[in-house]
Symmetry: C2
Subunit: 383 residues, 2 copies
Amino acid sequence: MQQRYTNEVEIDSQNLSQIALKFFIMKRSAHFGPGPSQIYFTVEDHLRRAFREGIPSLGHRTQEFESIFQHATEGLRQLLGVPPGYFIFFAASATEIWERSIQNLVNERSFHFINGAFSNRFYEIAKQLGKMPEKIVVPLGEAFPPITKIPANTEMIALTHNETSTGVSLTMDFINQFRSSHPEALVVVDAVSSLPYPLFDYRKIDSVFFSVQKGFGLPAGLGVWIVNEQCIAKAEKMVSAGQRIGTYHSLPFYLLNAKKNQTPETPNVLGIYLLGKVIEDFLRRGIEVIRKETEYKAAILYQALDRHPLVSSFVKDKSARSQTVVVATGEKTKWIADELLKNGIQPGDGYGEHKKTQLRFANFPAHSKEQYEWLVDTLEKLA
Amino acid sequence: MQQRYTNEVEIDSQNLSQIALKFFIMKRSAHFGPGPSQIYFTVEDHLRRAFREGIPSLGHRTQEFESIFQHATEGLRQLLGVPPGYFIFFAASATEIWERSIQNLVNERSFHFINGAFSNRFYEIAKQLGKMPEKIVVPLGEAFPPITKIPANTEMIALTHNETSTGVSLTMDFINQFRSSHPEALVVVDAVSSLPYPLFDYRKIDSVFFSVQKGFGLPAGLGVWIVNEQCIAKAEKMVSAGQRIGTYHSLPFYLLNAKKNQTPETPNVLGIYLLGKVIEDFLRRGIEVIRKETEYKAAILYQALDRHPLVSSFVKDKSARSQTVVVATGEKTKWIADELLKNGIQPGDGYGEHKKTQLRFANFPAHSKEQYEWLVDTLEKLA
């Protein structure tokens, strides 16, 4: 058992890991639900500071707000490696971004890769908006075939990098294939429950989005939408052709405001402030460290599931296993969940039809290595 | 000068006013901007408690969230006197509700009463959504004529109870006339910067909405939309007729979720929690006390403006003067603003073309009588 600790990454210079450990020992509880998830341990302090500085009362047309906007977006650029020619906008939720993406980027045809409830909802939204979306559907927990026939007139290819309901991730090779195979289509990636972990090749995608209550460890109520110039051009083309692309959250209006570091409407100012602060923390810790820790934590949990007599990984194909949402399946999950809870460990329920037969474990930057080791130790004792 | 204090209302049993006073003396600053405005003095404590209770990590499909939803909506019903047959939904902002109202309630024709930037934006959103809105426009700072000819086929009458840009309010008689004169039209009231102050006669209106960063003294990032069964029926009729009414924030889908005390998407959970808590505080203080204090504070400020040698009320017609956003105009407003700031008093800028020649003073429940008396005293010395 000691062996698995040998992969441990270096503790970063700020000793954040040790602070997190202290925090964790103090609380002796961990929340692994992948919905709104465990809050990053610095957030409460940032919030206290925000009140001291009067941020909650700040007008959204002030220079102070513009600085907050700029701090968050420039930090995010640096953290995720977003190149020039890509813009960062704020919405209320990733659900909103599903709707706005279709509204702004699709005249008639989007193509959706569906492997669970969330990728399916993106497709359903396209239908509700009166488009003619097409799809490929694979069974829950399985990867897509490497090559899929996509109609030539497809305007947007909708990919869900991490299907939160099942714990299946797309590989980077899979995502990156579409730029050359379908150069006319916009490649849009839902990375709701994976960022900041994945390192995307932005030359191969046109848009990516997430919401802050997952990997950024923040209270829910903010979605982040990254789009490139091709997306803006498409939205403008839609307008020229007399299509409706919405009002205050249309891409051209977003851009007009973002150029001034502003938002079209009064936004969740405090949410944007906190996002900027947590990004600062992540940058200090180092995105490489975060990535390695994520992989270490996922590895020890998958290893425990692969050896466990009562539960196993729902996703069998190792290359399709999510690093950020690990899904366990088995007949005794209810008992296991109860036992974990007795130990102060809160797993996430399974999703939908698997609510009672699966458990989901978020593996976000807010979840410390110590919490994961504790989870694995506890799980191993339940046999 | 002592005379004006004789109108003072009783301090309520909870001594909240005294606590607010202590708070104010401690800080010796006041923020009168009408955008995101001064935060209600209990909010920071509620936030601390929210973190202690794990609210920021709470899944939005849990019973705990349903209780938070119910607490906020039932509290609001009681506070505003919302009768049965009206539903309460959460959006990201009032700007979103402008868009969703038009999308859900108007096939072709809305009619807009425009007396400033915000009522005009509601109209513009209807145009952007491809509708054929009509309007009556009056000069900034002036009231509408008592009778307006509205086309017979109007589906929605859009009223802005309190035009935040100019400080003009509609009277209740004005709002209440349309139910009988245009029984087929839905009467929709933007009460963004007035609630919880106004007591609407809900039999005379079909929908009212606001955002929490004004009168509720909360951080921005949440809009509240109240609609009646006629609104739901209209949205359903639109769907039957093949109209598009949006996706996750369509009225039927809102209702489906609200019946379970849930929201269609992951909402601003913390915002809803804080709203419920502040409503609880308002209920304890008493809505009647809040209304009387609002009127007292408005009265002393308007009185000071009416007597002041350098600034005066922008709205001359006393029956059109807003109780919740007081707008001052004059040639030396820049100097006055600077002097107020030196005293720790932050006025709001004028809006748009009047940015430099007007000052706006929010008069919300978060603004104590002591702060208003201090504002008036300071203003009177600037002559």
